[in-house]
Subunit: 331 residues, 2 copies
């Protein structure tokens, strides 16, 4: 029987062979890229350039402002189409080929690198490693396997990927391997505090005001186990917040031990009502989202609705309360 390590090394060897034999690479990742997507792409681009390869990065959405000052970000192309002649695609962090949101991706030789469950294995080479804390951790392994020097730029992006995708080492598959990588990244010149300051101290005035307004109007239901928070045009205008400021906001109420689930209502004029759901542990909010035609994961799901907020709110609270009651340690 093939051991997991043997299988991993065989996959890395196949990817290396393609990289060594081909010249023109297109790197892409998912729509609305996050720190792991941006960090993994740029680390890979810097590595391929060290091998004198032609590299382009194309994403369908712009890089979040937060990461704009990271090296190489200005070279990322934003486009709806993957136009050009490429010998191979490297698609990172995408469960299928629609996730990048790019036309004309199909038909290219594709290397699929992902650390999420549920990848559809759409590549010519599929390297899926759910034990990695971030896609950046896989890129690190590949770079090491290729014998490429970890430059300061590469190290910066791999650290960015890991720091953001683990929520500052709070969740995900953090292993001894994660910290061994971080040790090597610091030895390559990364300053962890300076990167953290860039990312986490560069919020906006609007976000700060939004957090205040939302938590101040938060309702606690089901004996405080369910936090219900609201956003509408009025709150957005009063606080001066923007869509960009909403990232991660839905998770804040989970920091209270008693809170097991969060429902976040976004109710903007002229738009369908959007509802995001979050939960801890065994509380499956996906099953609830599905009853409204939505979907997601057990602990992070959502749906949209054309029914007025008051009506949705009432049924949703009773459904979540029932789930909480069924999962309580006493039941």
């Amino acid at each position: 029987m093939m051991t997991p390590n043997k299988r991993k090394n065989d996959t890395l060897a196949s990817i290396c062979a393609v990289i060594e034999n081909q010249e023109r690479f297109l790197l892409t990742s998912h729509a609305r890229p996050d720190g792991d997507a941006i960090g993994s792409q740029l680390a890979m681009a810097f590595a391929l350039k060290q091998l004198n390869k032609q590299v382009r990065i194309i994403n369908c959405d712009p890089t979040p402002d937060l990461y704009r000052t990271f090296p190489g970000v200005q070279d990322i192309e934003i486009s709806a189409t993957a136009k050009g002649n490429f010998d191979a695609l490297v698609v990172m962090e995408c469960s299928n080929l629609s996730r990048p949101g790019l036309q004309e991706l199909q038909g290219n030789y594709t290397i699929n690198i992902d650390h999420h469950l549920g990848n559809e294995n759409y590549g010519d080479i599929n390297w899926i490693d759910e034990t990695a804390a971030a896609c950046g951790e896989m890129v690190f392994d590949l770079i090491r396997f290729l014998g490429i020097t970890i430059t300061h730029d590469i190290a910066t992006h791999l650290y960015l990927a890991t720091l953001t995708d683990t929520g500052s080492f709070h969740y995900g598959n953090i292993t001894a391997r994660t910290f061994e990588m971080c040790r090597q990244l610091v030895e390559a010149g990364v300053n962890p505090s300076s990167i953290a300051r860039k990312i986490f101290d560069s919020g906006t005035r609007g976000r700060l005001k939004l957090v205040g307004a939302i938590l101040n109007k938060m309702d606690l239901e089901a004996s405080d186990r369910l936090a219900v928070i609201y956003l509408n045009d009025e709150i957005m205008n009063d606080t001066g917040g923007s869509e960009d400021d909403l990232e991660g906001l839905v998770n804040i109420p989970l920091s209270a031990e008693v809170v097991q689930a969060v429902a976040f209502f976004k109710d903007f004029k002229g738009q369908p009502l959007r509802v995001s759901l979050r939960s801890k542990g065994d509380i499956d909010v996906r099953a609830i989202a599905v009853t409204y035609g939505g979907g997601g994961h057990a602990n992070a799901a959502g749906f949209t609705s054309d029914v007025p907020i008051e009506a949705v709110r009432k049924t949703l609270i009773s459904k979540i309360t029932a789930t909480l009651d069924n999962n309580s340690p006493d039941s």
Copy 2:
């Protein structure tokens, strides 16, 4: 000339000699202990017990609720006096012997272990290492030097110390050595996500409400560079928050890029007004606190005052604004 490594090894050897030759140890740390104080003490206690030493931990204040479920916490004694017969004290994280807040500490043979600037070298052995990310990192070095096995309990406490004292790897002297330690702690059985969840998802309902109330009433002064936040009996009662919930709250406004300083007014009836100041980079709030008879560090200072809040507020805002103007990139 003695190299820093030679000096460190000599100091570690002296501490080892005391540990090996003595039997009865008292461990203590500063009043209102934080994660690094609790983690360093308990890691050291578990290590000494492996050597069959008699160990007592005495603190003047209780362990914060957040850490109550960590192994060994129930054995920490809370007392105003360090009563007992000891062969040696191990005092951690304390710049001087008043910081533990314990009577009858003086006169014992004392090992002083600290990673802060400004330690007064009050011990018979003084081991001060400002390059350590946390006191826990020093305890790790000592445990390794003593040849003690890193058990799951020891690893848990060293990880707790480092995770909390670096603000989840956001600040402090994080080096390759920090990550090498974390790698070894994970190999000893630490689950980083599970420890993070214990610490950061166990806030109270009151804290969540407090964050909302305080940010919602925040004033932004000096072109948004100064955030002024308030707490009084009314807010405390409305939110159901407690003193324990205030930990780290003063730092939240610094997450906005534009905010360079924070003034936090705690104005409770029948008590002197307490003002905490925080800042980023070169903004020295200690110098301002000193003008009110207070003190602290350049980026974290404070004072108390018997003058009414309105009067203090006005002068304080102009002093901080002047400091901000003097430090602006244009000046």
